[in-house]
Amino acid sequence: MSSVHFVPVFLMLLFVEQLLNGLQLGVMLFLMSAGLTLVFGIMQVVNLAHGSFYMIGAYVAATVMLKSGSFVLALAVALPVTAAVGMLVELTVLRRLYERDHLDQVLATFGLIFFFNELTRMIWGRQPLFMDVPPWLSRTVELLPGIYYPSYRLLIIAVGILVALFLYLLFSRTRLGLQIRAGATNREMVAAMGINIRVLYTLVFGLGALLAGLAGAMAGPILAVEAGMGESILILTFVVIVIGGIGSIRGAFVGALVVGMVDTLGRAFLPQIFRLLFDSAAADRLGLALASMAVYVFMALILAWKPRGLFPAPGN
């Protein structure tokens, strides 16, 4: 095989692997944004503290795993705990803010971020926690000849797709899903149907927190479990739901995958492309800067084109 022929094949493999990476990041973002977009679409609440649920999920999972060594048990504890914390937050703080404007919600949930970050620091200390990949998922798999992929990341992709499927079924096939959707478009009607809207809201909020907690617990083994970890992903999550169209689960799914791809491919290839096209240090720096901005530039372009996002939900 001549080297001229070899290079493109090799680049192709790399490209496929980067697509997988983009998919995995996208799926993670979907877990986060599904909950956030639900809460926003139905209760009209801007919740900056959504990242805190992600952090709590990771901390609880890491703690349980450290004590018991079981990843499954860690998930089994982390999910209900985050859901419970979410519902508690809804009952004590957010419930009082449904009728207020977004500004009040931003301020209050900004306060929640401070509180939760410092609280985790007080409970668990300042040092990051350790959480390992379960042994049965610690190998890499050769998906295609030449493409090795960590099996744990494949699990993340699978979980994300399952959750998407579950949400789809929940909203299109079940009574609860129907009520939630109705609640989003017409509050009074749902109340008239005799459904306790308060309980419904608390449940939806708990579900959103649970999904964020799931994302956090799944991220624990690949990321540093530390106070403030929620904010790194929070902003990307907001980018996702804004691109997708606020309140739309479908939009969140598409938005998450697109953002995951743009971010990953941007980081992987933009600097190289710039290096190939312009051979100078200045271009090199520009490529780097653009790679870190890629997601934001992309969002600005989408919103300039479609000010309400790709799939605007009917209620908004």
Binding site: R100, V106, F110, G111, I113, R121, V242, R285, P307
Partner: protein
């Protein structure tokens, strides 16, 4: 009308307090508080400028810190080139901008740059509404943040350390007192202009647009254009605050543009009471003082600050300003 008068009175009182505190500190031998007060003043200016678009225009921007940063870097870059003895711009046809430590030049450049980028980003952002607007302003701010992080020449993330406070003919800006009163003067100038602006026809249209956009459009007002001008003006004012901040702290860094800084400024506005201009001053004061005081008592001060903010939202609608108005009298 009464409320307006009382607001005016409150603003005068607050400014009077700002004017009288420094000699008081001097008497008590607590000069260090002057720099804290100076920071409150400058943040107050930044927050008040955000109030123009947030409180009066109803546009919730989470990217206002970008303009603060652009202003600060205008001052920082000019000074950097002055130390280095090089030119900021060296384009053909005699278009040369040498480095300089002049405060006036820095203010001019900052107003132009921040105003220009305000127009540019505003013209795109203002096509969106609500949550989308919040996010697109944030996106633009993040772009600036990453841009300045990648500027090796100007220290990237480390920023630029200034040597001294720049020059203004006839004044020694390195004297903390003089610098403080200069900032106060600029703040008052801004408040006077902003007050005229908000009570003008222009401001009325803006507020009308905040409350009922459809109606104003139907009446034939170009709401978009009004908003854009307001956005650019607020950006320029934030740029001024940025210059003052750069010279006050003698330091500039991209951290000024991070989204959490935008969030902090927004918190100041809301804490103080939006749509009042004086509220953001109070908000800046309370937030910075709380940070300072709480940190003395506990390392975990944020665990107190967080719930405090939540309580303000829940129980003090319209922030401190609203609270003061309530205490001030129920005669209306």
């Amino acid at each position: 009308m009464r409320a307006f008068l009382r607001n005016e009175r409150l603003m005068l009182t607050v400014l009077l307090v700002f004017a009288l505190l420094p000699p008081l500190f001097q008497l008590m031998g607590q000069e260090y508080l002057l720099s804290l007060l100076n920071r409150i003043l400058i943040y107050g200016l930044a927050a008040a400028s955000l109030d123009l678009i947030l409180g009066y225009g109803g546009m919730v921007s989470l990217g206002h810190a970008a303009f603060l940063g652009i202003g600060a870097y205008s001052a920082g870059i000019l000074a950097f080139h002055s130390y280095e003895g090089s030119a900021v711009l060296n384009w053909p046809m005699g278009l040369v901008l040498p480095g300089s430590e002049s405060l006036l030049l820095a203010l001019f450049v900052a107003v132009v740059m921040a105003g220009f980028f305000g127009l540019l980003t505003g013209s795109i952002s203002l096509r969106t509404r609500g949550m989308h607007f919040i996010m697109i302003t944030l996106a633009f701010a993040q772009m600036f943040y990453y841009l300045f992080i990648s500027l090796d020449r100007y220290g990237g993330e480390d920023g630029i350390s200034l040597f001294g406070r720049g020059h203004l003919p006839g004044f020694d800006l390195n004297n903390d007192f003089i610098y403080y009163y200069l900032c106060l003067f600029i703040l008052i100038l801004f408040l006077v202009l902003a007050r005229r602006f908000t009570t003008s026809r222009f401001g009325l249209v803006l507020r009308g647009g905040r409350d009922n956009e459809q109606r104003l459009r139907a009446l034939g007002f170009p709401v978009y254009r009004y908003r854009l001008i307001c956005y650019a003006l607020a950006a320029a004012a934030a740029g001024v605050a940025g210059v003052l901040m750069a010279h006050q702290g003698e330091y500039v860094s991209p951290g000024l543009m991070h989204w959490t800084k935008s969030g902090e400024i927004m918190v100041m506005v809301l804490l103080g009471g939006s749509g009042t201009l004086v509220g953001p001053l109070l908000g800046a004061g309370v937030l910075l003082l709380l940070e300072e005081v709480l940190a003395i008592y506990t390392e975990h001060w944020m665990v107190i600050l967080g719930p405090f903010l939540i309580l303000v939202v829940l129980f003090a609608r319209n922030g401190i300003h609203g609270l003061l108005m309530k205490i001030g009298g129920r005669d209306d």
